[in-house]
């Protein structure tokens, strides 16, 4: 069985426009995982094939389990079984959403994700929260800065990292009909809204948030994308024109956007809430080295464990993921052009 990507995922029907009801801010100034939950519930009301598979995440048992008990199952704190059960459910024609934390999905239950989910190309949607350093003060047991490096190596798997709560809703809707497996990477707390109005979201297609000609900043995930935009504004003030791409889909990677950046600008800076090895930066390098060699400066979490207690953004800055670093790297690439 081969899973294929949807050609495009058009702007989903039902996406709020802000015309009525709660304001855009009210609707999205919440953690992305809350937007995911309410979007899933909405989809599940209309599609009885959807099953919410919980692993004691907290809250789903009431939000989802009470309204749609037939479409809810809690397997408890058991991530390997979570993945196997979800694969079994999908094999019978259902659409399971497997809920866990990113580290537990990618590292602890990696083999079940590899063999049972990705290996069979089954339409399991793994929705993982607390990705990257978003668990902040919880400490390194709950950080997941290696998840993209692991999951990017699994054939069939689509890997999506929304940049904010708005994009989370788009991503959940756009992947509802995906014939193969999905990994949706979410954080923990609310993050700045990158998107203030409706837009077109397409799985596998990077979104240009800012046009630019001197250098390209390719970012994935909430804080990296926000930092990239901050950096681009600072660079503009210094006379450097920086293109900003929101690379919300890590797999399949938008090769065309990467190659265009390599050919049209003076180099690429990648930014991610993930190890500097194996993730977005590595994926971009894999594309350009083969087809359009250019300089790439990778900004990410260095190869070490963090036992410093801090919140997400502070930890990222401590790790060297900051708008200042992006500005310095981008300015250097632009100057060397």
């Amino acid at each position: 069985m081969t899973a294929t990507m949807p050609e495009t995922a058009p702007a989903p029907a039902g996406t709020p426009t802000g015309d009525a009801g709660p304001s855009w801010e009210e609707r999205y100034a919440v953690p992305a995982r809350e937007v995911y939950r309410r979007t899933l519930l909405e989809l599940a009301r209309a599609d009885p094939r959807i099953v919410c598979v919980d692993s004691d995440m907290g809250g789903l048992e009431t939000l989802f389990g009470e309204e749609l008990p037939e479409q809810y199952v809690n397997v408890g704190i058991a991530e390997a079984n979570l993945m196997g059960v979800s694969a079994g459910l999908a094999a019978t024609g259902l659409l399971p959403y497997a809920n866990t934390l990113s580290g537990f999905a990618a590292a602890r239950a990696c083999e079940q994700v590899k063999i049972d989910v990705a290996g069979n190309g089954l339409p399991v949607r793994i929705v993982a929260t607390h990705a990257g350093l978003s668990a902040g003060h919880y400490g390194p047991t709950h950080h997941a800065v290696e998840d993209l490096a692991i999951l990017r190596t699994l054939p069939n798997l689509t890997v999506v990292v929304p940049a904010d709560a708005v994009e989370t809703e788009y991503a959940v809707r756009a992947t509802a009909g995906l014939p193969g497996p999905l990994f949706l990477r979410l954080g923990r707390a609310a993050t700045p809204l990158v998107h203030q109005e409706p837009y077109e979201f397409t799985v596998g297609r990077a979104r240009e948030l800012r046009a630019g000609t001197d250098v390209t900043i390719v970012a994935t995930g909430p804080h990296p994308v926000s930092m990239a935009l901050e950096a681009a504004r600072e660079l503009a003030a210094r006379g450097v024109s920086a293109r900003v791409l929101n690379m919300h889909t890590i797999k399949p990677l938008d090769r065309e956007a990467v190659l265009a950046a390599a050919r049209e600008t003076g180099g690429i800076v990648t930014v991610e809430d993930h190890l500097v090895v194996g993730g977005l930066g590595a994926a971009v390098c894999e594309v350009v080295t083969q087809e359009a060699p250019c300089r790439v400066h990778r900004i990410g979490v260095p190869d070490r464990f963090f036992d410093h207690v801090a919140d997400e953004r502070e930890l990222l800055e401590l790790a060297g993921v900051s708008s200042e670093r992006i500005v310095a790297a981008a300015a250097s690439l632009a100057a060397a052009r």
């Binding site: 058991a78 196997g84 079940q112 290996g119």
Partner: protein
Amino acid sequence: MSILAEPSPVPVAAEPPDLAALAHEVRELVLRMGTTAHGTHVGGSLSAADVLTVLYHEVLRLRPERPDWDGRDWFVLSKGHASAALYAVLAQRGFIDRAELATYGAPGSRLAGHPLRRLPGVEFPTGSLGHGLSLASGVALGLRRTGRPGRAFALLGDGELQEGSVWEAAMNAGHHGLDNLVAVVDRNGLQISGSTEECVSLEPLGDRWRSFGWAVEEVDGHDLDALRAVFAGLPDASGRPTVVLARTVKGRGVPLFEGKKKSHSVRLTPRLLQRAMTGLNARRAR
């Protein structure tokens, strides 16, 4: 609630199959697959031969001409290394041609050392131990949720029970009362390094499963009538999943291999095949 159900009668064989003859042939086919270039997992295939024969010829509701028939029972060979025994019963039931068995493990063959999903009749690729019961649990949940009559069966090795994920699955299936789920444990008592009880002990095995909320059936895994009787009584009416602890002998049927840990993986030379076949036939004649 049924959203995918396709009611269909259970196929009934015209006359009862000769299970003893079929089981004998499974063993012969396993030995022949053991002569291929890489050999096969002979011991664990022979210990599971009777269970698989009863399941595939008496118990499982299947349509070999339509492997994805919606009303089917699902079978997961969690101990995927017993692939040779599975391929033998799949050939007997017509999922694949008997002639294909000669390609076992050969370049380009569909018959890998551990089952591939692209082989008709194989629901999931298995071989990494500790996956099958979770998969079968998900299937059982899915069948229940979609109102289909099928049941999910998983055949596990006993050494496999040392995998923690088995007990994650067991705890969950017991809790959710998956009475359309049947686990069969091929309790041959041996793993690669020797006795399971000397490696990491499994007993008291029945009590362990019972304490996880399962109905437990213990049976001589080589007594075809006893196996038939146990499976005929399933699913258990108590709202629990059932585990059948099939007491077996590794290498069963071939004196050369019986109860020997070295039978785990064997490549049979022509001379060894001849000795094994002589032993197999003599045992049957007795």
